[in-house]
Amino acid sequence: MSHHLFILSPSDTPLYSLTHLSSRPAAPAPSPLSANLPSWSTSAFAGTLTALSGASSMAQMSTQGGGVRMGGGQDRHVIQMIANASLDMIEDVVRRENGMYLKAVDKFNEWTISAFVTPGNTKFVLLHEGKNDDGIRAFFVEVWELYLKTMMNPFHTAHSTIRSSVFDTRVRASAKKYL
C-alpha cells in the first residue's frame, strides 16, 4: 500500500513530492470501477510508459519499496496526473469550505485524494488507497509545521522547490508514523 504526497505552491508549481510505501496491510476498500478497468502498468504499453515517465524514478521507487511490486496505476506519470487532476476539485472545495483538511476530495480508480490547504494557499495533496482519516490529518499537520519552518527561511520563496534533506527525513518519519 503506497502513499504519494505532493506539495504545490499557491500557483500550483510542485515544490516537493514523496512516495511512501507502508508495510501496513491496505484497508479493504474495493472499488468496483478499478476491478473492471485494465491495470495501467501491466498493459502492453507499460514499458513505453515507464520509459517516458523517466526510468530513474521508477528504479528509485522499486528500490525504496524493498521488493514491493508496483501494481496497477502506480506509474509515476499516472500518479502525477491524478494528483494534478484533483487540483480542480480542491480549488472548488476551498472556496466553499473553511476547513484546511479536505478529506477525500477526489477519487480515481483505487486512489483516494485527500488534501490540506495552508492559510497561504499552499496545497498538500496525498494519494492513498485505504481509509485512515485521523492518521492522514495528523500527518498533514506535521507536514504543515515542517513546511512552515521551511517557509520562514528568508531564502525560500514561494516557488523554490524544497531540497532540504532534513525536511525530507522528517516528512518520511512522520509518514512512517501515521500512514
Partner: protein, 237 residues
C-alpha cells in the same frame, strides 16, 4: 524600554571600538564601524549550524523586538530602496514588495499558532471576517496593537480602508517635503496585500497619508479588491 536598549547598543559598540583600536598600525585605516561587526560574528568555538527544523515555532510567540532596533533596520531599508528607484511610485512599489515577503510568512505563522493544535484547523473564506482578522490579529501580531479603524468606501464598493493613527513603521520617519506624496507605510500595505492574497482575496493595496489635527501621522491602507472577490462574495449571499 526602547531608550534603554538603545543605550546598551551604543555602549557595546563603543567598548568594542576601544578594544579593537590599538594605538599603532591597523586601526588607522580601518573603518570606524567595522570592528563592532567583526566582534559580533567571531566566536572561536567550532561553528554548529543550527537546523531550522529543530527550532520550535512558538518560542518567539510573545517575544518583542526593540522599537529602536526596528527603526534602525527600517531606516536602512528605506535608504537602500531610495538609492535604487527613480520615483515615488517605484519607491512605494519596492517597499510594497518587501512587505509582501513578510506578509506571506506572518499569515502562515499566525494561523499556525492559533489553529495548529486544533483538531480541525480552519482558514478564513469570507472577506469581511478576513478583513477584521487583519485589523485585529495581524496588527496585534506585527505591531502589538490593533489598527484604529476599518472603513468601507462610500463611492466604490470594492474599496476598503484600514486606518492606523500612529503606524509603528513610520514613527521615526520624517518625509522631506519634495517626497511629500511618499508613504513609507507602503511596506505595511504590501504586508496586507500578501495576507489577502494568501487567503484568496487578490487586491491592490496602497498606503496614503491622511493626517488630521489629533494624529499628524495618520495613515490609511487602501484595499482595492479584485473583481473576482466581489463576485465570489455575491455567491455566498
Amino acid at each position: 524600554m526602547a531608550s534603554t536598549r538603545f543605550s546598551v547598543l551604543s555602549s557595546s559598540s563603543l567598548s568594542s571600538a576601544e578594544l579593537l583600536s590599538p594605538t599603532g598600525s591597523s586601526g588607522r585605516f580601518s573603518l570606524p564601524s567595522a570592528p563592532s561587526i567583526t566582534t559580533a560574528v567571531g566566536p572561536s568555538k567550532p561553528l554548529v549550524r543550527p537546523n531550522i527544523y529543530d527550532r520550535p515555532l512558538n518560542k518567539t510567540r510573545s517575544a518583542e523586538v526593540s522599537a529602536s532596533a526596528f527603526a534602525f533596520l527600517f531606516s536602512e531599508i528605506v535608504q537602500y530602496t531610495q538609492k535604487r528607484v527613480g520615483g515615488i511610485n517605484d519607491f512605494e512599489r519596492r517597499l510594497n514588495t518587501l512587505g509582501y515577503r513578510i506578509g506571506t510568512r506572518v499569515l502562515e505563522l499566525m494561523i499556525w499558532r492559533t489553529e495548529g493544535s486544533s483538531k480541525a484547523p480552519k482558514r478564513e473564506i469570507r472577506f469581511l471576517p478576513a478583513l477584521m482578522s487583519i485589523h485585529n490579529n495581524v496588527w496585534k501580531a506585527v505591531f502589538g496593537k490593533t489598527a484604529d479603524g476599518v472603513e468601507k468606501s462610500v463611492e466604490n464598493a470594492d474599496e476598503y480602508m484600514i486606518i492606523d493613527n500612529d503606524p509603528v513603521v513610520t514613527r521615526s520617519i520624517s518625509v522631506p517635503r519634495e517626497l511629500s506624496q511618499l508613504s513609507c507605510s507602503s511596506f505595511t500595505a504590501g504586508l496586507v496585500e500578501a495576507v489577502l492574497d494568501g487567503l484568496g482575496f487578490p487586491a491592490r493595496v496602497t498606503a496614503h497619508n491622511t493626517p488630521n489635527v489629533d494624529h499628524p501621522s495618520r495613515t490609511t491602507i487602501l484595499i482595492k479588491l479584485d473583481k473576482s472577490v466581489l463576485d465570489r462574495e455575491e455567491l455566498f449571499k
